[in-house]
């Protein structure tokens, strides 16, 4: 619901205040972006394969784009984070413990903004105005929810909304009512981002394992050694 619009607005605003900004998004990796799009066209992409493709895409962007940018003091804005993949996995009946272990090296974001709409019907309006029609995957057609694209879309998005609502409590999302005007939402975003960005000192040690904000389970293993492409790994 307007994610790319708001990221563009935030970016312009941050840059006008002298911040360097990187914006990145799900399925935009150099490594896997194209492959994911191609894999989706034939409608034969299995649930586990889909998840691992998303994870590959994410880790590629994390290691090659986000981490270097963060180390250099950039503000990183991302269109979707690991939570979208987690939600899609959960709705497909995939064990959430498995997903979390795959993403165990993900950074804990400084803030997650959830642009929340209250019903799938609002999403339907967007589908209609965009003229794109109902996408196979956005309609959850791989789940055989019964009925046609429309029925499937409503059922699938209803389930996704439930999962996101639950995750927003579990992971401490900033929930924004996205049914409001772009201006209202943008103002809220600016206010929240300003608090985080202006006071913060650039730190080298941003890497920490992802944990749900409610539970305090210590990581049971060390995160994957992230190899900086310019550095050599010690044998």
């Amino acid at each position: 619901m307007g994610r790319s619009t708001h990221i563009a607005l935030l970016r312009t605003w941050l840059e006008s205040r002298g911040h360097a900004v990187l914006d990145t998004g799900m399925t935009r990796s150099v490594l896997a972006g194209r492959g994911i799009k191609e894999a989706k066209t034939g409608h034969t992409l299995g649930r586990l394969t889909m998840q691992l493709f998303y994870a590959t895409d994410f880790i590629d962007r994390l290691e090659n784009e986000m981490l270097p940018a963060l180390r250099s003091g950039f503000v990183v804005l991302t269109d979707r984070y690991i939570f979208s993949a987690m939600a899609r996995a959960e709705v497909r009946g995939i064990d959430s413990g498995w997903i979390r272990s795959i993403y165990s090296m993900a950074l804990v974001p400084d803030a997650v903004f959830y642009l929340r709409i209250s019903s799938p019907q609002q999403l339907v309006e967007r589908v209609l105005t965009s003229g794109r029609g109902f996408d196979y995957w956005e309609s959850g057609m791989d789940l055989s929810l019964g009925g046609d694209f429309y029925d499937s879309f409503i059922e699938y998005q209803t389930r996704m909304l439930k999962v996101f609502d639950r995750m927003s409590g579990e992971y401490g999302f900033h929930v924004l009512n996205a049914s409001r005007s772009v201006r209202s939402v943008a103002a809220d975003l600016r206010r929240a981002v300003m608090k985080i960005v202006d006071d913060r000192a650039v730190s080298e040690d941003n890497v920490s394992p992802l944990q749900p904000l409610r539970e305090k389970t210590p990581p049971s293993k060390t995160p994957v050694n992230l190899v900086d492409r310019n550095k050599k790994v010690l044998p």
Partner: protein, 225 residues
């Protein structure tokens, strides 16, 4: 999601593992022929062969886009597709599935590259546990000779060039394969791999394989209906 060791299928999964040049692919091909001749429905799945993923993998290798973590994950993606489409359905139908390389290849390579051992096992936890997993253990120098002499040049990731051990691909490859072999040896007890001495004749190895496989096969001739 059903995890490694928990799947219960009527079919049988036999996999071969080992360093390149260990002769495992030859042995698997012979086994495949024999099983077909005996009248069993047999399916074959090869490492890095998913039509949905392999072009991405090829491109990434060519352009040197991988880090250890993404190398691991993209290969896991390929493996997941083959598991979902080519391995599980035939097993559910009671067929035999043969795989050339399996998750242990990933465990060896990815760990040698620096990925956390536990993390890699977590990523692949959806895999079906093989009925029998053969590890063709060839002396390292024999295996290396076979590969190096048989090919014009070693490729970047294959030689472990991304790890910076040596500027010389052949030397890097030797170090890489040596470490992979160490990981395989560790995994013999961890996963109950069946070790085959790959320095013996092709015929002897094949006889041993068939002997180890046979107890798991349902006799075709005495099916009662």
């Amino acid at each position: 999601m059903i995890s490694y060791g928990q799947h219960q299928f009527p079919g049988k999964l036999f996999v071969v593992e080992g360093t390149d040049g260990s002769g495992k692919s030859t042995q698997l091909a012979l086994l495949h022929q024999w099983l077909k001749a005996e009248g069993y429905p047999v399916f074959f799945s090869e490492w890095n062969s998913s039509p949905l993923v392999k072009d991405t993998t090829k491109r990434a290798k060519k352009r040197h886009l991988f880090t250890p973590a993404t190398f691991s994950l993209l290969h896991a993606t390929d493996f997941a597709d083959r598991t979902e489409r080519d391995i599980i359905p035939p097993l559910k139908a009671g067929a035999i599935v043969l795989a050339d390389r399996y998750i242990y290849t990933a465990y060896a390579r990815d760990v040698v590259r620096g990925c956390d051992r536990g993390w890699v096992r977590d990523v692949y936890s959806f895999a079906v546990k093989p009925t029998v997993a053969f590890f063709f253990r060839a002396p390292l120098d024999v295996a290396i000779d076979r590969i190096v002499s048989g090919r014009p040049s070693l490729k970047h990731y294959e030689a472990g060039m991304d790890l910076g051990w040596s500027d010389d691909p052949e030397e890097s490859f030797k170090i890489f394969q040596g470490r992979i072999l160490e990981e395989y040896d560790r995994m013999v007890s961890e996963f109950g791999l069946t070790v085959i001495d790959a320095s013996r004749s092709i015929e002897r190895q094949q006889r041993e394989m068939r002997m180890l496989i046979s107890p798991h096969l349902k006799r075709r001739r005495s099916r009662s209906h």
